[in-house]
């Protein structure tokens, strides 16, 4: 029980008459790499939005390492150690790659507005520290050559990677990736799989990802969870899941 990074107990949310997510139970252990799949509109992204505080659940509780995080603002939840990426890339387009990461590291910086205005000692010290840290992360992702380019000038695959790098700059315990491989070609997907494995193996960061690309899901996830109409349909070993009759029906419909 103690090494559960995230626990969702009977989490549900209702938008007016629509029950978007119902009785969602999830326990993620430290260092796990879990896939969340399901047909379109199943409520996968809603689950992400519930965990990151964008929506407040109408039922249930969400515990991060034992602390209830319901009712916390999204920026506070980042401080607790949950970082995420988005289905449609959301970068700070007109900031440099380096600045994208520095923004994410802002929560760990302490110098005051006054220090920033008058360029006092701790401004220079912290700015140097944060630059080194950002470069370090970019190095891991093989992106330090882009450091001073504008984020929007990067090719699509690199932008996806930058979004993950930015999430990493917040020092998360738990990383939520929302369709990281969307729109990628097979080579880019392979590279992405390597990156995700690297994050897990090098930093031991627990990862929960939504994905439609089954090659990626089967290639790296240790456990799968299938969501349909806001309910958990099946859960377990990836290879059992894809052969599960109810899952196949959810995706393809029932044969006559």
């Amino acid at each position: 029980m103690s090494n559960h990074v995230l626990t969702c107990n009977n989490v549900g949310i209702r938008f007016g008459g629509l029950q978007a997510v119902q009785d969602f139970n999830l326990q993620i252990e430290d260092g796990e790499l879990i896939g969340l799949i399901g047909p379109n509109g199943a409520g996968k992204t809603t689950v992400f939005n519930l965990i990151t505080g964008v929506y407040e659940p109408t039922e249930g509780e969400i515990l991060l390492a034992g602390t209830n995080i319901i009712g916390k603002m999204p920026h506070q939840i980042v401080r607790y150690g949950i970082a995420r990426t988005f289905q449609n890339i959301r970068l700070f387009d007109h900031l440099s790659v380096l600045d994208n990461l520095k923004v994410a590291a802002n929560k760990d910086m302490r110098y005051s507005i006054f220090s920033g205005m008058f360029r006092l000692g701790n401004f220079w010290r912290e700015e140097d520290e944060i630059k080194d840290k950002a470069i370090e992360i970019l190095d891991i992702f093989g992106m330090s050559k882009h450091a001073n380019k504008l984020a929007r000038s990067l090719p699509y695959g690199e932008q996806r990677k930058l979004e993950i790098a930015r999430a990493m700059a917040t020092d998360p315990k738990l990383l939520l990736l929302d369709e990281p491989a969307a729109g990628m070609n097979p080579t880019e997907t392979d590279e992405l799989m390597d990156t995700i494995m690297l994050i897990r193996n090098e930093f031991g960061i627990t990862t929960l990802l939504i994905e439609h690309d089954m090659r990626l899901v089967l290639g790296i996830c240790e456990r799968l969870m299938v969501l349909n109409y806001g309910k958990v349909l099946a859960e377990g070993n990836p290879h059992d899941i894809v052969n599960d009759q109810s899952v196949i029906e959810a995706y393809l419909g029932k044969g006559e």
Partner: protein, 327 residues
């Protein structure tokens, strides 16, 4: 601080001093008339106004049309302070200006917290209304002199003081906007949702940018009040807000150097065109239309004008190696 950075700082300080020296020499030698000097003082005020609005419009990415409101709060604070408290001279002037900034900043917080929940057109309309409310209130109360305005504010028309005040204001705004706080504000402009999930407290930083903007607008208002000696609420109507907004848009939203350049140009051009009085506004409008047609992102876009980049460019043009790694 690396040696390279220190060099850039020194170059910039040097350039400001050179500019100041040139202007002083021109004044002393009589090339600049008293009329020219009065325009240059106005330039100083408008530069502070435009750069301060740039913080909200360019850096935070929210259009506000009530900037003249904050300016008027600053102007009246400084005016009433100077008349009520008998600290004459430079010190009184500087204290009054600081007070004006603080007062406008407080209003910035009070107005900002509820209003910044809105975005885009809605925010523009609400701030427009706010600016008008301030104006009407100033005309309503007696202690502000009512509709007759405030007369007999001690004049402070020392160009050197105003020039360096403007330089200091712009520098402070620029340095805070390139610190971590400024980065957070820029991130909100780029993508609010992403900023929030990167740990940025949106409400805090929006209010921060808005307040900073109001603070320096208040300072500009105070400089204006002391420069002109007589203020009336009707000066600070929405036309004034639009004038400032035009300066920011023309210079390039998000560019401090752009705002400085366009504030300078847009103050000088209408004045030099005074001899063609009938066509003045036509030429002015045509100029604006031309710029928006050919450079819709403004003169400098989001970029800043860096003297070091120019030097680098010139060096590469003449076949010399750029200075990189040379330190």
């Amino acid at each position: 601080m690396s040696r390279n950075k220190r060099l850039i700082y020194l170059i910039n300080i040097g350039l400001v001093l050179i500019l100041f020296a040139i202007l002083t020499i021109l004044e002393a030698s009589g090339v600049f008339t008293r009329y020219t000097m009065s325009i240059l003082r106005l330039v100083c005020i408008n530069v502070v106004l435009a750069t301060s609005l740039n913080v909200t419009v360019g850096n935070l990415g929210q259009i506000t049309l009530g900037h003249a409101g904050f300016m008027s709060i600053g102007a009246y604070t400084a005016g009433l302070f100077a008349k009520g408290v008998e600290i004459g001279g430079q010190n009184g002037y500087l204290i009054g200006i600081l007070l004006a900034g603080i007062c406008a900043g407080i209003f910035g917080i009070i107005v900002g917290i509820p209003v910044l929940r809105l975005k885009g057109d809605y925010l523009a309309i609400v701030t427009l209304a706010f600016g008008e409310i301030i104006r009407v209130l100033i005309e309503y109360f007696d202690f502000t002199g009512g509709a007759q305005g405030l007369n007999g504010i001690p004049r402070m028309q020392n160009f050197s003081v105003m020039f360096f005040l403007a330089v200091i204001c712009v520098t402070l705004m620029y340095s805070v906007m390139t610190s971590r706080h400024g980065r957070a504000v820029l991130a909100i402009r780029e993508d609010e949702i992403a900023a929030q999930s990167s740990g940025i407290n949106i409400t805090y930083y929006k209010t921060f940018a808005f307040t900073l903007s109001a603070f320096f607008a208040g300072i500009a208002g105070a400089m204006y009040a002391h420069n002109i000696g007589t203020i009336g609420a009707s000066v600070f109507n929405y036309n004034k807000s639009f004038d400032i907004l035009v300066m920011v848009v023309l210079g390039g939203m998000g560019s401090f150097t752009g705002a400085v350049i366009s504030a300078t140009v847009l103050t000088i051009v209408p004045e030099t065109l005074r001899q063609f009085n009938d066509y003045r506004m036509i030429i002015y409008s045509l100029l604006l239309i031309m710029v928006m047609l050919f450079r819709p992102e403004g003169l400098l876009g989001r970029k800043e004008f860096h003297i070091t980049k120019v030097v680098d460019k010139i060096k590469t043009k003449f076949g010399k190696h750029s200075v990189e790694g040379g330190s």
